[in-house]
């Protein structure tokens, strides 16, 4: 492959394209680059979540903040027992039950480290800063910070708070070049036993993926549609205007091809 072609492929993607080859195999430099990235990702998996510092940052957004805990108490348990990460601790169930509102909440928002504390640390605050102004008119429950959560913990938290919808933001599993990617999952009518088909997801939220400013309107649109339609999940298709912004206009590309 010519150097010119290598350069032109590399400028359009962070994927490991145009690696060169020794015979049909990768050259030694690429082999070592891959190993370094994997070593870093392995280290990121085990980075601890600073829930207290997150609470301070989120309080600055003007919403009350509460800490909650799943039944997974440490990282090793969390990794091997996803069932415990989906269940609220008895203590937190009582705490959240105590802040239910007479009129009910429209939405409970939860932030968790999930599989990458770095993602929650870096993307959580800017995403919420961009999202909260788009939710004017929604009755929000206190923001919940819940370490060691799996996605379905949103059902138990939403149910305990008596919220009509729940949104959980949590660290996705670290990729080789992206240890800080956040995922957002929303569900209408959170309750224990909801399946993943009833959730909608916006993934890869990070500056080099879907930036917070682009993710926030998409999440707000999905929340609004779920409220309007009375359901969420696979039957709720993402037609948000913001969804097409990072994508090229297909007609013009087709013109270049033909």
């Amino acid at each position: 492959m010519s150097e010119e072609l290598q350069a032109s492929l590399r400028q359009w993607t962070d994927a490991r394209v145009a690696l060169g080859r020794a015979g049909g195999s990768v050259i030694h430099r690429s082999l070592l680059d891959f190993r370094l990235s994997h070593a870093r990702a392995r280290d990121a998996v085990h980075l601890p979540f600073d829930a207290a510092a997150m609470a301070v940052e989120l309080e600055a957004l003007g919403q009350p903040v509460l800490l909650a805990s799943s039944q997974a108490t440490d990282r090793a348990t969390y990794l091997q027992r996803p069932d415990l990460g989906r269940q609220l601790s008895e203590e937190s169930r009582a705490t959240l039950g105590g802040v239910r509102s007479d009129q009910g909440y429209d939405l409970a928002i939860i932030l968790s480290d999930g599989l990458s504390a770095e993602a929650a640390h870096r993307q959580g605050p800017p995403l919420l800063r961009a999202l909260l102004p788009l939710l004017a008119g929604w009755r929000l429950a206190p923001l919940i910070i819940a370490p060691f959560a799996r996605v379905a913990l949103q059902d138990e938290i939403g149910e305990a708070l008596g919220a009509r919808a729940a949104l959980i933001l949590l660290g996705e599993r670290p990729g080789l070049g992206s240890a800080d990617s956040l995922g957002a999952y929303l569900v209408h009518s959170p309750r224990a036993g909801n399946t993943d088909a009833e959730r909608n997801c916006v993934s890869n939220i990070r500056p080099a993926g879907l930036p917070a400013e682009a993710a926030a309107p998409r999440i707000a649109w999905l929340l609004g549609e779920a409220r309007r339609l009375g359901f969420s999940g696979v039957d709720l298709k993402d037609h948000s205007a913001s969804a097409s912004t990072p994508i090229l206009d297909t007609t013009s590309l087709g013109d270049r091809l033909t």
Binding site: R10, S30, H38, R81, T195, N204, R218, D235, L253, L257
Partner: protein, 465 residues
Amino acid sequence: MSWTITLAGRSHHFRDLRTLMAKATPHRSGDTLAGLAAESAEERVAAQYLLADLPLRHFLEELLVPYEDDEVTRLILDRHDAAAFAPVSGLSVGEFRDWLLAYETDATKLRALAPGLTPEMVAAVSKIMANQDLILVASKCEVISRFRNTLGQRGRLSVRLQPNHPTDDLRGIAASMLDGLLMGCGDAVIGINPATDQVTTTCSLLHLMDELISRYEIPTQSCVLAHVTTQLRAIEQGAAVDLVFQSIAGSQAANKSFGIDLALLREANEAALSLKRGTVGTNVMYFETGQGSALSANAHHGIDQQTMEARAYAVAREFSPLLVNTVVGFIGPEYLFDGKQIIRAGLEDHFCGKLLGLPMGCDVCYTNHAEADQDDMDNLLTLLGVAGCNYIMGVPGADDIMLGYQSTSFHDAHYLRQVLGKRPAPEFEAWLEKVGVADRAGHLRDNPLALADAPLALGLHTTQP
């Protein structure tokens, strides 16, 4: 029915068939998570002894998931072909293992047998088999499927080109696609996992691939791995859909958690067939599976994850797919903890799928929270190559920057083709030689003139806009 065996004075009791199957399963974290695993190494082997003595036909009499509760069970029973089953109907599970390994048992016999086997029989025999047994028997199977080329012939190894991009950026995807084609990969399918499940994105990606395949007359097919309902909407809007994709699992409840049922898959299959886009065949479906998906949806019915995985293959074979692959290490360490468990599961899944008559491939992969690395993948890749796996994934540098996991690379495919003397699908192999990507021996050319105008056509100019 319950079973008891005494080994060296110690008695082991198994209260039902589900328990016996689960405890006979080689150790993996997902069965421990489900509370189903054997409690000692000896108990596991005790269960294997008992399972080996069980008549194969017992699986037609005692059902693991009730017929009236589950449409996958109904599919398995209703489609069972008693005549095809006849050659092995008198055998126990252990005798069946020995029958499979006999010199006389060849591809023709195995092909004829497939409709007579149920997933539970195949899962049971796999549990008592050694890794080398799984490899040898699978290597005897030849499962061929066709759309725009011929996949699965003996001596062939195909590659799904997987050019994913975190924001579905068309030029980013085009760059990875071009890289893969110039590395001689993409004969199984060019298949994109979209970052977000949208009809508009799906249509754009399909259009991009259709233009590329048409312009360069590439004998391959494309697919956007969105939810099946999204692909149906794309078909309604006139999009160029070659293959319809869906993730599937081994119970009605698990499929419901994916937002699908058999009726929806039938509708999708008919919609894809109605487009008549295949040139050499009509296999239009692409399915992905993986051990642990039923448990993660709490839809496993108290059954071990490997048996549930085999049941997913009954769903797949109902639709004569072009491609099936087990995404073996994607689900994470709670189901398959380390390289050893991933390797075993990959060999089991490939064996079970092939024995049931499916064109099996494998996404040889792991996540960063599993105790595994690329050397473990090299091992599984090599073993599956020996076992005759139809296809593997080709991801740039083995690093999927959208899905956040590590798979196999274009270079890995070249390694495997070289070390085992495997070649791409015949139509694609001829195309590679014709356009000058590779020579007759399959060696890549240094400065191919092939696709020379593709970067410009795809909008990959050398200066950023």
